[in-house]
């Protein structure tokens, strides 16, 4: 046992003293959070103040077209040529020139002249407003109450509620992407650390140090020591990642807090209006802008995510990670021992990668059809269960199913380790021969 301890220690030390490893450990969460911040940041409306001179030949939009917090509009009756002449010296950032359609029947077109490109958000805003106003004006002109139309045009909302055997209910829709994320994360973790075991085994074999080591310890001790060492490294790296991400998350949410709060306040105001006008939903629809529905979705999801038992999910994640990692890493250790170079390993990698990919596709399937047979079966077969069961858990799975799946996984890990040890023992000392499946099969039966 003390020798396994030594091997574990060396394995950990060799990883954590590796510069690339250290850099990646700290850089990965930075990149992840950074990418998320970037997405969030780019999604926020641009805050460049726009001062727009509007020339409306149709006279349809005057007094109705309005700016917002950072878009101010000024209507003028100047000719476009005059306006353009003055434009460069004026403090307007752009000119919106709405051309009338012939006899008011043709849809008007507009041109936008600018000094600096005002950006997509501005364009979208102007376009949407013009379309909406034109739409309403047209309806009014034909004596149709826009409220009637809006009333007829209602998004249907279906709330999914799962009722489990205890009669308790759980809203499970809209967090399926979270489920999938869990499955994906699991697959990545198994792959990253499994490959680390694979490389470490192959490194020792190609270094030829393995012959010195197995003259001191049993090959099985070496293999297990390696697997345990890397598991500890993996869990430590995971912990560091979580800590850094949380700290960064808190810092960043502090930075964006104002924006989020603004959004939330706006959303709450709109919600009040909707509630007040509840009986007349059409009027409510008119009173709020499109962003309300998007925001509603977002805040609904946040609410639901808040209801997930993160501790439970986290605990199962660790348990399934350990099981899945041990299962796959012992297979990868066996393969690593059987080949001389990474290039030779392709044909042996394939059968290991395929079940992982199947698990991944089943995790995708969970988003579409969370309780199909293939998903349920996949969540018990040890090749896919860590990924698939992990993706199922946030959606609510009976505890006995989770435990059964775990037990199967851990028993299978015992089996693969036993097989891997036999292959490993022979494989690490085989050089120069091209290994085949047949050959590996024979190694299982050597004394």
């Amino acid at each position: 046992m003390s020798k396994i301890g030594l091997i574990v220690g060396r394995e950990i030390k060799s990883k954590i003293t590796n510069k690339t490893f250290i850099i990646m450990t700290f850089l990965t969460p930075l990149i992840m959070i950074g990418a998320m911040a970037m997405i969030f940041w780019t999604a926020m409306p641009e805050k460049i103040d726009q001062k727009v001179l509007v020339i409306d030949n149709t006279h349809m939009f005057e007094q109705i077209l309005r700016g917002n917090d950072f878009i101010s509009l000024t209507f003028t009756n100047d000719k476009i040529e005059t306006a353009q002449e003055k434009f460069q010296k004026s403090d307007y950032t752009s000119i919106l020139y709405i051309l009338g359609g012939a006899e008011g029947t043709i849809i008007p077109t507009a041109r936008l002249f600018y000094k600096k490109n005002p950006g997509l958000a501005f364009q979208t805003y102007i376009k949407n407003e013009l379309e909406r106003i034109f739409y309403e004006q047209k309806l009014k002109a034909n004596n149709i109450d826009p409220v009637v139309i809006a009333n007829a045009h209602q998004p249907m909302q279906i709330t999914m509620t799962k009722v489990d055997e205890n009669g308790s209910v759980k809203n499970s829709d809209e967090i399926q992407f979270f489920s999938f994320g869990m499955g994906l994360l699991m697959m990545m973790f198994i792959l990253i650390y499994g490959m680390m075991v694979f490389r470490s085994v192959m490194e020792e074999k190609t270094n030829r140090i393995v012959e010195v080591i197995v003259s001191s310890v049993k090959p099985f001790e070496l293999m297990i020591g390696k697997i345990i060492g890397i598991a500890i490294v993996g869990i430590a790296q995971f912990t560091v990642t979580v800590i850094i991400s949380s700290v960064l998350g808190i810092v960043l949410s502090g930075i964006f807090l104002k924006d989020i709060n603004n959004l939330k306040t706006k959303f709450d105001n709109q919600k009040q209006i909707v509630n007040k006008l509840g009986s007349n939903a059409g009027a409510a629809n008119l009173a709020i802008d499109d962003s309300f529905h998007d925001n509603k979705k977002m805040f609904d999801v946040i609410d639901k995510l808040n209801k997930i038992n993160l501790f439970e999910v986290g605990l199962y994640f660790v348990l399934f990670f350990i099981g899945g990692y041990l299962f796959y890493s012992s297979l990868l250790a066996a393969i690593g021992s059987a080949v001389d170079s990474e290039a030779d390993s392709q044909q042996f990698m394939f059968p290991v990668m395929v079940p992982l990919m199947i698990g991944y596709f089943l995790a995708i399937k969970i988003m579409i059809s969370p309780e199909s047979n293939s998903v349920i079966i996949g969540s018990f077969i040890p090749f896919t269960s860590p990924i698939v069961m992990m993706a199922r858990i946030p959606l609510g799975v009976p505890t006995w199913e989770v435990l059964t799946s775990l037990v199967i996984l851990y028993i299978s890990f015992g089996l693969t380790t036993w097989m891997a040890a036999k292959i490993y023992r022979t494989g690490i000392l085989m050089y120069g021969k091209k290994t085949s499946w047949r050959e590996i099969g024979k190694w299982l039966f050597y004394k």
């Binding site: 030594l6 590796n18 012959e211 010195v212 080591i213 090959p219 000392l429």
Partner: protein, 317 residues
């Protein structure tokens, strides 16, 4: 002298060939034992069995009177033919790690490592990575790793390969020194010169079987072919006539008026009889018996075996 290792009727089969066929070898304590044989003869398989990297299919290995088991590995040191160390790991750490795997306590391992580092004048290497060292330097580290736990049985597979003559001499002296201190050395090599120089006993393997073993001295005596090298001043023709049927000249050469012949004595003629016969015709400068070298014995025995059994095995160790 007691045997430190007894290999009794060991057979090891792999799926498609037999690596060792009923091999029995006894290795006496405190000696240098040469394990010889062409490539693929089964030397590495035997060494791996002694190291318990693999087990024999049948037969047994007795170490100091007990059946060889896991606990004995701390008393065995092994230098494989294909050397290997962790490339990125600092030298000192590596030596300590491998010494601890052999069962040494860390403090003790460090103490001994420092002594060895001083002996080989490599104190400054402690923090260097293996990949920064030259091949010869790596070999020294590997040698220290093999002997640091002071094994009673030392197995060296081609220990001199990769060393320059100076370092080879250094290692040679260390090996003899270790034997002096009571270690037994199993020495697997193709270098027959070093076998004659270092080995007390040998075993010759060919095609998975032991074909010869015993003391180096005895074996060379046994392979004597009654061949002598004589240098003399005088008439070669006269010499040949005087010898008559007592011998057959195999080679002859003349330099600065001195004839040198290599002859084989025939018909039970003794050296004395030969000398008596030829002395009247010439002046003898020197006379030496030609005792076959281990190299000659190796080649003749292996060829003999191959002629009987057929073509050479293609299996490479």
């Amino acid at each position: 002298m007691a045997d430190i290792l007894q290999i009794n009727n060991v057979t090891k089969k792999y799926s498609d060939h037999v690596a060792l066929n009923n091999v029995s070898i006894n290795i006496p304590e405190k000696s240098v034992f040469g394990l010889l044989g062409p490539n693929g003869a089964g030397k590495t398989s035997l060494i791996r069995i002694i190291n318990q990297i693999t087990g024999p299919d049948t037969g047994e290995v007795i170490f100091k009177g007990e059946k060889l088991v896991q606990k004995h590995i701390s008393q065995i040191g092994y230098l494989p033919e294909e050397r290997g160390l962790y490339k990125k790991m600092p030298v000192g750490e590596q030596v300590l790690y491998l010494a601890q795997l052999k069962g040494l306590k860390k403090a003790e391992a460090k103490k001994r490592a420092l002594i060895w580092f001083e002996k080989f004048e490599m104190q400054t290497w402690w923090k260097k990575k293996i990949e920064e060292l030259s091949k010869g330097m790596q070999q020294k580290v590997q040698f220290i790793v093999t002997v640091i736990h002071e094994p009673e049985l030392l197995i060296l597979d081609e220990p001199f390969s990769g060393f320059d003559p100076i370092n080879a001499q250094l290692i040679k002296n260390e090996i003899l020194d270790l034997r002096q201190k009571g270690a037994t050395v199993i020495f697997s090599t193709h270098n027959m010169g070093s076998v004659e120089e270092l080995c007390d006993n040998i075993a010759l393997l060919n095609k998975s079987e032991k074909i010869l073993d015993g003391k180096v001295k005895d074996i060379r005596q046994a392979f004597r072919t009654n061949t002598y090298k004589i240098a003399f001043k005088g008439n070669l023709m006269g010499f040949t006539n005087a010898m008559w049927a007592g011998g057959e000249i195999l080679e002859k050469s003349t330099e600065d008026g001195i004839n040198t012949v290599i002859l084989k004595l025939l018909n039970n003629t003794s050296v004395t009889q030969l000398l008596q016969a030829v002395l009247p015709t010439c002046e003898i400068h020197s006379l030496n018996e030609i005792i076959p070298s281990m190299n000659d014995i190796f080649i003749s025995k292996v060829n003999e075996g191959n002629n009987v059994v057929g073509t050479k095995s293609n299996y490479t160790e």
